[in-house]
Subunit: 188 residues, 2 copies
DNA sequence: AGTCGGCGAGAACGAGCGTTCTCAGCGTCT
DNA sequence: AGACGCTGAGAACGCTCGTTCTCGCCGACT
């Protein structure tokens, strides 16, 4: 039996620790201690630490994207297309205010390991591409030019990085205001 | 004698290696090997690795900011205030295209060590605050609302993070286009 | 000329890393 | 009942880390 519960606990612990101390600052022992999953099983499920990191990032990709789409659907389902775009930045504001928010894991791991691990870059790019595709959908629904999606992604990435550095969520509001201006300027 | 040349070589080597492998992925031995500065002198000048990192970041703060202001003065000294703001993003485009560009060192180190080192966060925040003050000057000169400076900083940070992840400089152009729209929308 | 203080090269240290191995125990099949 | 195979706990391995120590050497002062 693969014992999915143990695997999930390991992934959760690894995600938490990687975020808190940086990937290179976390040993497999620490992940075992935090998750209760023995080293032997960790290495059976994830042949190496790099594989574990990969799995954490893949899971995070799904989690982040479904959290965003879920928030937009829940809070702006009946709103205008413009409202739905801006709701993405409202989601960011809530996320940034979480007490242990440490920034976007894909940007952080790319910053730490991008020079030595091609895989970290690849997974990060896929994640941001998927995010851009989602923004593109929203932008299309508002009948706005496609190029806006790239600009909104830069804004969102900037908000994540800025909020993580500052330890405060205000960058989300600044990005939201900028996004509103970009949308309104594109409509005419 | 403090032998400033050795200290500078050590700082340069440390900056290069930290960027390439992440701070936690670089040993003091590697910095000694790359700089030719013996361990004994490294520890005389920088009592600990954290102190060395601090010194690297302080130097980088000055370097980055003077590169930006230098570029703006050289390329848009006689331009309109609007041109001078946009020149900042032109500088980013050139920077991102450098072959070993690995993103903003302050965002990267904050991502890696922000959870364990208050000092890394403090230095990073000071750097971004100084950048915001500079943008604020440019925005003031263009007689634009103060709040624009924060939005431009989010755009710049987003461009740095996005370009570093993608390995391509196109995010600079996207941020520049967005900045132009924000400026033009604010003027009316 | 002889002593001495600071130097560089590199060994050494204790700790922690990623990964593998040992081994006693336990459930499962015959 | 008894043999087997997989398990978890943890020791062990070889390496690297940040930091300190040893020691032979050289230049400066008396």
């Amino acid at each position: 039996m693969t014992d999915q519960a143990d695997v999930d606990r390991a992934l959760d612990a690894a995600e938490r620790l990687f975020n808190a101390r940086g990937v290179q600052g976390v040993g497999m022992d620490a992940i075992r201690d935090a998750s209760g999953v023995p080293l032997k099983r960790l290495y059976r499920e994830f042949p190496s630490k790099a594989d574990l990191l990969h799995a954490v990032l893949e899971k995070r990709d799904l989690d982040v994207r479904s959290a965003i789409t879920g928030f937009v659907d829940a809070n702006a389902a009946s709103g205008s297309p413009r409202d739905r775009v801006l709701a993405v930045f409202d989601y960011l504001a809530g996320w940034f205010a979480e007490p242990d928010f440490r920034g976007c894991m894909f940007l952080n791991t790319a910053g730490e390991l991008g020079g030595t691990s091609q895989d970290v870059l690849t997974v990060g790019r896929r994640h941001k591409l998927a995010l851009r595709d989602y923004l593109s959908e929203l932008v299309d629904a508002a009948e706005l030019p496609e190029a806006l999606a790239d600009q909104l992604l830069v804004l969102a990435n900037g908000a994540m990085a800025t909020a993580a550095l500052n330890g405060t969520p205000e960058a989300a509001g600044q990005a939201r205001a900028a996004a509103a201006v970009l949308i309104d300027a594109a409509v005419r």
